[in-house]
Amino acid sequence: MKSPCILLVEDNELGRDMLSRRLDRAGFDVVTAADGEQALQIMRERQPALVLMDMSLPVMDGWTACRSARADPRMRQIPIIALTAHAMANNRQSALAAGCDDFATKPVDFPQLLAKIRTYIPT
């Protein structure tokens, strides 16, 4: 069976490498993007099973990318989990309002994130 594809959007190179490797080991096919624009392009072309989106991104931030994805019928159904720094309050509401399906704080608690992903991509 083909592994489900996850798009990881993260501008920090080290964080991207680390998280994509962990997801890869957890059995997912991982593609990565470093900014909101790239993310939208990959979502349109690859139709990933799920998107993990860091909200503070260069070029186009995660909030804008999320809203654009929700406005586009080709991407509307792709689940997006927002990743935000936990120091910011009310991020959950903001993320949901921007069209994200769920929300996880950084630094990421990997087992918890994995559990969240599995609710959208049942194995």
Binding site: N12, L14, G15, D17, M18, L19, R21, R22, R25, S56, W63, R67, A85, H86, A87, M88, A89, N90, N91, S94, A97, A98, K106, P107, V108, F110
Partner: protein, 494 residues
């Protein structure tokens, strides 16, 4: 659409209250853990995935250390990202380790994970909200043991806000596991817990060879003075009653950390002294008896090995007819006979606290009275010479058994002033002796027959014991101003 102000991605500007330790109170604890990890060698035969993780972790740790070394050049955002990646790689490696059997890596890795988790704790990042009285002290690594979650959280939040790294344990058993993994500075211990209670944890800590110096602050629920007294008797360093005043807690933690640091420094100093002592023993032990070496080590001012005029008794010995012996035996046999002889003589000289100056072929030159003067130097020298002669019986029995000829040694003693010190060139020097008295001894040795002990009059004058003497006579030797009065010693008077 409005969302909250983003965290600043600008570097933390320099200024009051923005030095590294204030901005990142966990910095020191994390750097310690990173240093330990970087010091750990990559275990051989690590499986591919674990090896990959180790390499990434290593790089991330190095970069993290670099960022913390120059906090003004990096934003909090960058530091947090780095921290998150560091922990991620660490967790990945930890998942791979059980399958790879690399135990050496386990403890430093666990400590690094504890340090990153503690650094990522929101309470520890949020230092600006401190407020109230803060006691400034060195940040430490605190283990808080309490079975109640809310108490653990309260203490953890409070102490990390003060700059400490805090790790918590919900039971006595868990506390012991953490103590085994991390270098804890202070243990904050709740006495009343189900299962293993605080009293038992305290006892285990104080009995453990590596943990017994870790300060323990016990916390009692009610004003149970009897229980506290029991704890202090069992080795607890301090105590608090619940509910405790947070400033008092800070003060006691600070005192505990200072105590631990003091102990650590003392321990380091002790180890350094031990290394020095081993070095001195290895350097001088071949020439001086153990007792003299110990004496040198115990003198606070140390021993001055520079040139000094000293009165000593000099012992010189020679095997009679050694040249003939060399012609009769194979070279390997000569060495064998000689080594057995010199070995036995060395043991005797050292047992009489003599200092062996040198071996010249079969000749032995030893000195009594340097580097350290004793009242009975001359007596010990004479007794030593007699013991050396007495030892020939057993030596010659062994020689006869192996078909070697018997050895006969002449021993001469003289007492006088010599210069003792480290003599030689910069490249090669040793503790040695020069002076007229040395030459006089050699002249006496020239006229000494096998099996005899002959002493100069100068030595006889210094003897405090009584010995049987005969064959007293005068000799004239080249280079000597006047006649030299010498005596043969037959043994102790009964």
């Amino acid at each position: 659409m409005e969302h909250e102000a983003q965290e600043s991605t600008l570097p933390v500007p320099p200024g009051p209250g923005t030095d590294a330790a204030t901005v990142y109170p966990w910095r020191e604890a994390l750097l310690r853990a990173i240093g330990e990890l970087l010091d750990t060698e990559i275990p051989a035969g690590l499986p591919k995935l674990a090896h990959e993780d180790f390499t990434s972790l290593h790089r991330a740790a190095e970069d993290m250390a670099g960022m913390l070394a120059d906090t003004a050049a990096h934003s909090r955002h960058d530091v947090r990202n780095q921290l998150s990646a560091l922990r991620g790689y660490g967790e990945m490696l930890a998942e791979q380790l059980p399958a790879s059997g690399a135990e050496t890596l386990d403890a430093p890795l666990q400590r690094l994970l504890l340090a990153t988790r503690s650094a990522e704790d929101p309470a520890s990042l949020d230092v600006e909200s401190g407020g109230g009285i803060t006691i400034v002290g060195e940040p430490g690594f605190i283990l808080a043991v309490d079975d109640r979650l809310e108490n653990r959280e309260l203490v953890a939040r409070y102490l990390s806000r003060c700059g400490h790294s805090v790790v918590t344990a919900a039971s006595g058993e868990e506390a012991l596991v953490i103590l085994g993994q991390a270098d804890v500075d202070v243990v904050l211990l709740d006495l009343l817990m189900p299962g293993m209670d605080g009293h038992e944890v305290l006892q285990r800590i104080k009995e453990h060879p590596d943990w017994h110096a870790t300060p323990v602050i016990v916390i009692s629920g009610h004003q149970d003075m009897q229980g506290i007294i029991r704890c202090i008797e069992a080795g607890a360093d301090d105590y608090l009653f619940k509910p405790f005043n947070p400033v008092l807690l800070q003060a006691r933690i600070k005192a505990g950390i200072e105590r631990k640091r003091w102990h650590d420094r003392e321990e380091q100093y002790r180890q350094q002294l031990e290394r020095n002592e081993q070095f001195i023993r290895a350097t001088f032990g071949r020439y001086l008896s153990d007792e003299i070496v110990t004496d040198i080590l115990e003198r606070p001012e140390g021993l001055d090995l520079g040139g000094k005029l000293r009165e000593v008794t000099i012992l010189m010995s020679d095997i009679r007819g050694f040249t003939t012996l060399c012609e009769q035996l194979e070279p390997t046999e000569v060495v064998r006979v000689l080594n057995r002889y010199l070995g036995a003589m060395t043991d005797i000289i050292l047992s009489y606290q003599g200092t062996i100056d040198e071996f010249i072929g079969d000749a032995i030159l030893a000195v009594f009275g340097a580097p350290q003067h004793r009242e009975d130097d001359a007596d010990r020298a004479v007794q030593c010479a007699l013991a050396m002669q007495a030892a020939h019986e057993e030596l010659n029995r062994q020689n006869a058994q192996e078909g070697f000829p018997a050895l006969h040694t002449g021993i001469a003693l003289n007492t006088g002033q010599v210069i003792a010190g480290n003599i030689g060139s910069e490249r090669r020097s040793k503790y040695g002796f020069v002076g007229h008295a040395m030459n006089v001894t050699a002249r006496i040795e020239d006229v000494t027959r096998g099996d005899d002990v002959v002493i100069a009059d100068a030595t006889l004058q210094k003897l405090r014991g009584h010995y049987r003497i005969d064959d007293s006579r005068e000799i004239r030797a080249p280079g000597m101003d006047g006649p030299l009065h010498i005596h043969r010693v037959l043994g102790d008077l009964p």
